[in-house]
C-alpha cells in the first residue's frame, strides 16, 4: 500500500496512547444541557420550542428555511427551561436552549429510509433533517457538500480518517467499533453524488484498523460493488486538513479560493459518515457529541458519546476525573487548532471532537523573540506560504504583499507557530491579518460602489 502525503507539515507528540485503547462510553446521566442554536457554519436558525415545553430526545427544537442551515434536536428528554445567551466554545456568547432532564430515556426517531431506493432529493433532505454537520472541522452542513451544482461532477468521496490532531482518538475508536457504519455512510455519500471512487484516508499510526476496515468494505461490496480503497497516509500534521488530504490521495490541489468540489472531491469525516448511515438506517438525528477527553491533567482519559449541549463542568466528577489544581488550560478540540476556553462552563457542540485538560508541562507559553530567518516555518507550512515573509509584510502593514504571499490561503493549521524557535505568534497574527485584509477589501468595495 502506498503512503501518500503532502508537502510541509510537522510531527507534534501524538499523545494518543492516553485514550486510544479505551472503548467509547455512552453517557446517559446528564441532567441538563445548554444546546447552542448555531453550531453549523452558515445562516442562524430559530427555536421551534418555547420555555416550559416538554421535549423528547431526538425532537426537532430549532430550524430555518434559509440555505446553509441545519435543524437542531433536543439531546435529552425534559423541559425547556430558558432560551438565552451562554458562553460558547468559540469564546463568544450565543443563543442557546436550556433543557432540564425528566429522566426519561425516550428518543424520537425519523422513519427509516433506504438510501439506495429513495430519490436524491429525499436523501439530501434526510441528511439535512438529521441535523448533520461536518464534525471534523468548521461544522459545514453535510447536505450542502453532497449537493454540488450540476456542473461540478464528483469523482471521489474521501473519508477523512487521518485524525492528525494530537490526543484525539475518537475517530480511531469509531472506526474500530463501528466500521460497518462508516463504510455504509461512505457508500451512501458516493451514491448520492454519483462518485466512482471512495477512499478512506488513514494515517499510518492507525494501521491496525486496515484489516478491520477491509473486512467492512468486503461485507459491503459483496452486496453493492462500490470501489472503495484504503489509502495509508504518512502520520503528519495537518494530514487531516481537507486540502492536504485531497492532495495526498488524489494528487490534485484545490485552487486558491475554490472548494473541494472544484477538483471533483467531497471530503467527510468518519464520524459524519457514521451519522449519515444512522440517519437512514435508524432514523437517528444528531443528539450526541462523540469526543475524546484527555490531557495529562485529566486522570481518566476517555472516549465518550455525550448529549449535545452537555456542559463540560457537569462531566467532571461524575464521568471524568480532573486534577483541578494542575489544569492550566482547557482546550475544546485538538491542541493545534482547538480554542482555549476561560472556564469549564461551556457546552459541547456537535463538532467538538475533544476536551483537553492540559497541565503546565503540556501547554507551555513563551515570550516572543525576534525572527532569526531560520526558515523552519517555510518548510512546515502546509500551504507552501512563506510565514516569515508574511509576518514581515503584516508587521509593516503591507496588506497587498500579505495577500500576494497568501494570507487568505492560510488554513490556520498552526504548524508555523509550532516550529518557530523564537516562538513568534505567526498563525495568531495571520488570523488577525485575514480580518485586516477583509476589512480593507470591504472598504474598497464600498468606495467603488459610491
Amino acid at each position: 500500500m502506498r503512503k501518500a502525503t503532502f508537502k510541509g507539515g510537522i510531527h507534534p507528540p501524538e499523545n494518543k496512547e492516553l485514550s486510544a485503547h479505551i472503548p467509547i462510553e455512552q453517557v446517559n446521566s446528564i441532567k441538563k444541557v445548554v444546546i447552542p442554536l448555531n453550531q453549523h457554519f452558515g445562516a442562524p436558525i430559530k427555536p421551534l420550542v418555547a420555555v416550559g415545553d416538554t421535549v423528547k430526545r431526538g425532537q426537532k427544537i430549532a430550524d430555518s428555511q434559509d440555505r446553509m442551515t441545519v435543524p437542531l434536536h433536543a439531546s435529552i428528554s425534559g423541559t425547556v427551561k430558558k432560551i438565552e445567551a451562554h458562553l460558547l466554545v468559540n469564546n463568544m456568547e450565543g443563543p442557546a436552549i436550556f433543557i432540564e432532564s425528566n429522566d426519561s430515556n425516550e428518543e424520537e426517531f425519523l422513519p427509516i429510509l433506504d438510501p439506495f431506493a429513495c430519490s436524491k432529493d429525499e436523501a439530501i433532505a434526510r441528511i439535512r433533517e438529521a441535523g448533520i454537520i461536518g464534525i471534523g472541522g468548521a461544522g459545514f452542513p453535510a447536505y450542502v457538500k453532497l449537493a454540488p451544482p450540476p456542473d461540478k461532477p464528483i469523482e471521489y468521496v474521501i473519508a477523512n480518517a487521518a485524525e492528525c490532531e494530537p490526543y484525539l482518538t475518537i475517530d480511531e475508536r469509531t472506526m474500530e467499533e463501528s466500521p460497518d457504519d462508516v463504510v455504509d455512510g461512505l457508500t451512501i455519500a458516493m451514491h448520492i453524488v454519483k462518485a466512482k471512487h471512495g477512499i478512506i484516508g488513514l494515517e499510518d499510526n492507525k494501521q491496525h484498523l486496515v484489516p478491520i476496515l477491509e473486512k467492512a468494505i468486503e461485507r459491503k461490496n459483496t452486496s453493492l460493488g462500490f470501489d472503495i480503497k484504503i489509502v495509508l497516509l504518512k502520520t503528519k500534521y495537518p494530514q487531516g486538513g481537507e486540502k492536504m488530504l485531497i492532495t495526498a490521495v488524489t494528487g490534485r490541489e484545490v485552487p486558491s479560493g475554490k472548494l473541494p468540489m472544484d477538483v471533483a472531491c467531497v471530503v467527510s469525516n468518519v464520524g459524519t459518515l457514521k451519522a449519515i448511515s444512522e440517519a437512514f438506517r435508524k432514523g437517528r438525528t444528531v443528539v450526541d457529541t462523540a469526543l475524546t477527553v484527555s490531557g495529562r491533567a485529566c486522570s481518566t482519559p476517555k472516549n465518550l458519546f455525550v448529549p449535545v449541549g452537555t456542559v463540560v463542568q457537569d462531566l467532571i466528577g461524575s464521568v471524568i476525573e480532573v486534577k483541578e489544581n494542575e489544569v492550566c488550560r482547557i482546550v475544546m478540540g485538538g491542541p493545534m487548532m482547538g480554542p482555549a476556553v476561560p472556564s469549564a462552563v461551556v457546552p459541547l457542540q456537535k463538532n467538538t471532537s475533544g476536551v483537553l485538560f492540559l497541565n503546565a508541562d503540556e501547554a507551555q507559553h513563551y515570550a516572543e523573540g525576534s525572527c532569526i530567518r531560520c526558515g523552519r516555518c517555510m518548510r512546515a507550512c502546509s500551504c507552501r506560504l512563506s510565514p516569515a515573509l508574511l509576518n514581515r509584510a503584516l508587521s509593516i502593514n503591507d496588506l497587498d504583499e500579505a495577500v500576494a504571499i497568501g494570507v487568505l490561503d492560510c488554513i490556520e493549521c498552526g504548524s508555523c507557530s509550532f516550529v518557530c524557535p523564537a516562538h513568534i505568534q505567526l498563525v495568531q497574527r495571520f488570523r488577525i491579518g485575514k480580518q485586516r485584509v477583509r476589512i480593507k477589501m470591504q472598504k474598497e468595495a464600498q468606495r467603488a460602489t459610491k
Binding site: P255, S256, K258, G369, I372, G375, M378, R384, D409, C420
Partner: protein
C-alpha cells in the same frame, strides 16, 4: 469549579522544543572539531585569539544593549557563534587587539546597529574579517604560520592560494608542503590529501575539509541548516574554475571555500530564505569567490563573494515557492480573483 488560573490563548497550544538557543548551541558543537584542530595546528596563540574573540563579542553585545536600553540577549549564544566564527576565519598570528577590533566591528557595526539578532543584512563575522583585512593588510593575511610550529618561531610561509596569486603553480604548492614537512611527496595526490586533511597554513578553522564536513553532517542531521546553499556554492565554484581553466578540485579544497559554504553562507539572517533564493545565493557566492580569486586583488574571495550575495538577499526573498493551489492572477497588481 474550574475557573481560576486558566490560560487563554489562540491555538496552537503545544510547541516544539527547539529554540534559538539550542540552534546556536548546535552550530557551536558543529564548529568544535575545526576549533580544536585549529588550536592543535597553530598552538596557544590561536587558542588565545579564539577565546578573546568570543569573550569580546559577548561583552560588546552585552554593553551595547545595556547602553541602548534593550533587553540583554547574550543567553541565546548568538554572540558566541559570531565571535567563534570570526576567530576561525582569522590567521593564527592575528594580534589580540585586532581580534577585539574585529569582534567590535562584527557585533556593533554589522549586527546591533541593524537591530540585533536576525536583523543583520550582512554576515557579522565576515564584516569583522573584511574590515580587518582592509584596515591592516600587513598584519592580517600578510604572513602565515607553518602548522605545528610555534608562532614565536616567526617561521612564515604562504597559503596555497597566495602561492597561486603570486604566479606559482600547483606544483609549487606541493613543494612548499614538502618544505614545511606536512607532506612526504609533492605529487598531485599528496597535495589534495594535505588540503583535505587540512595540515596546511591558513586561517585557524578553515583548513580541514574533513572536519568541516563532519560539522556539516552534524548540522544536517539536527536540521539546523539544509544542503542547498553549501552544495550550490561549492558546485558553482567547481564548475566555474573548470570553465576558467583552473584545477577545480584544488579550487574547492584550498582556501576557505568549504568553510564559508557550510558556516557562513548558511547564516540565517543574512542569507536567502526561500528555496529558489538559496539556489541562486549559493551559485552566486561560489561564482563570485572564483571570479575574485582569478581576477581580483585578493588571493581568496569567499569573504567578499558571500558579502556581495548578502546584499542581494532582500531581492532573493521575492523568489517564493508557489503557494498551494496557486492560480495565476488575472490582472497584475490586483488582489486574487
Amino acid at each position: 469549579m474550574l475557573q481560576n488560573n486558566l490560560l487563554l490563548s489562540s491555538s496552537p497550544h503545544v510547541y516544539s522544543k527547539i529554540d534559538t538557543r539550542k540552534i546556536m548551541l548546535a552550530v557551536i558543537i558543529a564548529l568544535l572539531p575545526v576549533t580544536v584542530y585549529g588550536v592543535v595546528l597553530f598552538g596557544a596563540h590561536a587558542l588565545l585569539v579564539i577565546l578573546v574573540s568570543v569573550a569580546s563579542a559577548v561583552i560588546f553585545e552585552y554593553v551595547f544593549r545595556l547602553i541602548t536600553k534593550q533587553d540583554i540577549r547574550i543567553g541565546d549564544f548568538s554572540a558566541v557563534v559570531t565571535g567563534l566564527l570570526l576567530a576561525l576565519i582569522l590567521p593564527p598570528s592575528t594580534p589580540i587587539w585586532a581580534a577585539i577590533m574585529g569582534s567590535f566591528a562584527a557585533i556593533v557595526f554589522a549586527k546591533e546597529f541593524f537591530g540585533g539578532l536576525g536583523a543583520n543584512p550582512f554576515n557579522p563575522a565576515l564584516i569583522g574579517r573584511a574590515i580587518l583585512l582592509m584596515s591592516f593588510p600587513q598584519r592580517i593575511g600578510g604572513s602565515w604560520h607553518i602548522p605545528f610550529k610555534a608562532i614565536s618561531d616567526a617561521t612564515t610561509t604562504a597559503t596555497p592560494l597566495t602561492i597561486l596569486k603570486l604566479g606559482g603553480s600547483i606544483a609549487d604548492v606541493g613543494k612548499s608542503f614538502v618544505e614545511q614537512g606536512v607532506a612526504a611527496n609533492a605529487d598531485y595526490a599528496s597535495i589534495l590529501n594535505v588540503l583535505f586533511l587540512g595540515n596546511r597554513a591558513g586561517c585557524i578553522g578553515e583548513s580541514s575539509i574533513l572536519l568541516i564536513l563532519i560539522g556539516f553532517a552534524f548540522l544536517l542531521l539536527v536540521h539546523v541548516i539544509d544542503w542547498i546553499v553549501p552544495v550550490c556554492m561549492v558546485g558553482s565554484a567547481f564548475v566555474l574554475s573548470f570553465i576558467l581553466g583552473a584545477d577545480p578540485l584544488f579550487a574547492i579544497l584550498s582556501g576557505g571555500l568549504v568553510f564559508g559554504a557550510v558556516f557562513m553562507a548558511t547564516d540565517y539572517s543574512s542569507s536567502a530564505l526561500t528555496v529558489k533564493g538559496k539556489v541562486l545565493f549559493g551559485i552566486g557566492a561560489g561564482a563570485m569567490t572564483i571570479i575574485i580569486r582569478q581576477f581580483g586583488g585578493y588571493p581568496e574571495g569567499v569573504t567578499y563573494g558571500i558579502l556581495l550575495m548578502n546584499a542581494i538577499t532582500p531581492f532573493l526573498d521575492k523568489l517564493r515557492t508557489k503557494k498551494y493551489g496557486f492560480v495565476k492572477p488575472v490582472k497584475s497588481g490586483g488582489a486574487r480573483s
